[in-house]
């Protein structure tokens, strides 16, 4: 019995040590990203310049291309390359704007990093607990390794950002194709200041 179990146990140990390396690497990357964003937000004199300043940091750490493709879902393959580019541009602006709208300059979130795990190779989930302006949030960051580790999804209180946008954008796509998706993105952009 033990003999039969031994190889399995050994491979399990090997796998955990391998994944431990990438888990630590991804978590470190996330911490750097968060620190950089906070540093930029601190230096901003007011809220209106925040989106533009945060953008350069976020494009480094967040894979907006993958995010947009996944948010659009099955319809993406029927987009023309031009429409794909346009959708990526709009979607990333939407994310950055709604993200930086949550920031109040001078306020610092207290983030506790919980045990990160690697559900598949090249994929790491980092669950965190965040206290911001007196409220508690459970935020899980999903990172993937492309060129380096990049954030591909954010799960807040169990609700995935990509899944949330996918259900909305896919419905738009079924209504009126790629142009409907782009115009709905345009609309929500014009609604947020």
């Amino acid at each position: 019995m033990i003999r039969r179990l031994l190889p399995t146990l050994l491979t399990l140990c090997l796998l955990t040590t391998l994944s431990l390396g990438q888990v630590a690497e991804a978590q470190q990357r996330l911490k750097t990203a968060v620190a950089e964003v906070l540093a930029v937000a601190d230096r901003a004199p007011n809220k209106s310049v925040l989106p533009n300043r945060v953008r350069s940091v976020l494009t480094k750490h967040v894979n907006f291309e993958t995010m947009t493709r996944r948010a659009v879902g099955p319809g993406w393959r029927q987009f023309t390359p031009q429409q794909q580019q346009q959708a990526t541009q709009l979607f990333s602006t939407l994310i950055i704007r709604s993200y930086s709208a949550k920031f109040t300059p001078g306020e610092h979130p207290a983030i506790t990093y919980l045990n990160a795990s690697s559900p598949a190779s090249g994929r790491v989930d980092v669950p965190t607990r965040m206290v911001y302006q007196g409220s508690h949030y459970n935020v899980t960051y999903r990172l993937e390794r492309a060129l380096g580790w990049q954030i591909t999804d954010v799960v807040i209180e169990g609700v995935s950002m990509i899944a949330n946008y996918r259900s909305q954008l896919d419905a738009q796509f079924k209504k009126g194709g790629a142009s409907a998706v782009i115009s709905s993105l345009n609309q929500s952009l014009s609604r947020t200041p």
Binding site: L12, T16, R69, R70, V72, G73, P74, G75, W76, R77, S117, P119, A120, R123, D125, P127, V131, G134, S135, H136, T140, R142, D153, V155, E157, G158, V159, S160, I162, A163, R166, S167, D170
Partner: protein, 159 residues
């Protein structure tokens, strides 16, 4: 009154037959043997699979396409792994998101698969890791109700 033993036997047999029929229905309908045709198995990893049972339905765009075969704990990181059986004709992209949803407000849990944009498809036995676990309604309500207690409110009286 003289044929009562025979009648009682008959009634007894009828009751037993009825119970057997009920038992048969519970076993077979619950397991999801209603799903005809060939299926393949995929796995989905959740941090919390509360309320999900073997036999829960798997849905794409509101259409039932499979069943949950079993739910178990991964001993490596204590996450929940659900084994799903999905009809063979359905090829799902690798970036499909699996979410545990509830029918109505407090109804049964089911798994909603939202297909993604990737060209490659999930092969039998592969695992979906982009998932949304069941949203714990009670803890959310608890947060709404008791959230103010946790706040670092300077105006709040110190205990």
């Amino acid at each position: 009154m003289n044929n009562s033993p025979k009648l009682e036997l008959l009634v007894g047999a009828f009751v037993v037959l009825g119970l057997a029929a009920v038992a048969y229905l519970t076993l077979h309908l619950g397991k999801g043997s209603m799903l005809g045709g060939d299926t393949y198995r995929i796995e989905a990893r959740f941090t919390n699979a509360g309320g999900l049972n073997p036999g829960s339905s798997v849905v794409v765009a509101g259409v039932p396409v499979g069943r949950v075969e079993s739910v178990r704990v991964d001993p490596a990181d204590f996450s929940a792994i659900a084994d799903l059986r999905v009809i063979s004709g359905l090829k799902l992209p690798t970036d499909t998101i699996a979410s545990i949803k509830t029918t109505g407000l407090i109804g049964d849990k089911y798994i909603l698969l939202a297909p993604g944009a990737e060209e490659s498809t999930l092969t039998p036995g592969s695992r979906i890791t982009d998932t949304e676990s069941s949203v714990d309604l009670e803890s959310l309500i608890g947060k709404m109700a008791f959230g103010s207690v946790e706040k670092d409110n300077p105006k709040a009286p110190t205990p």
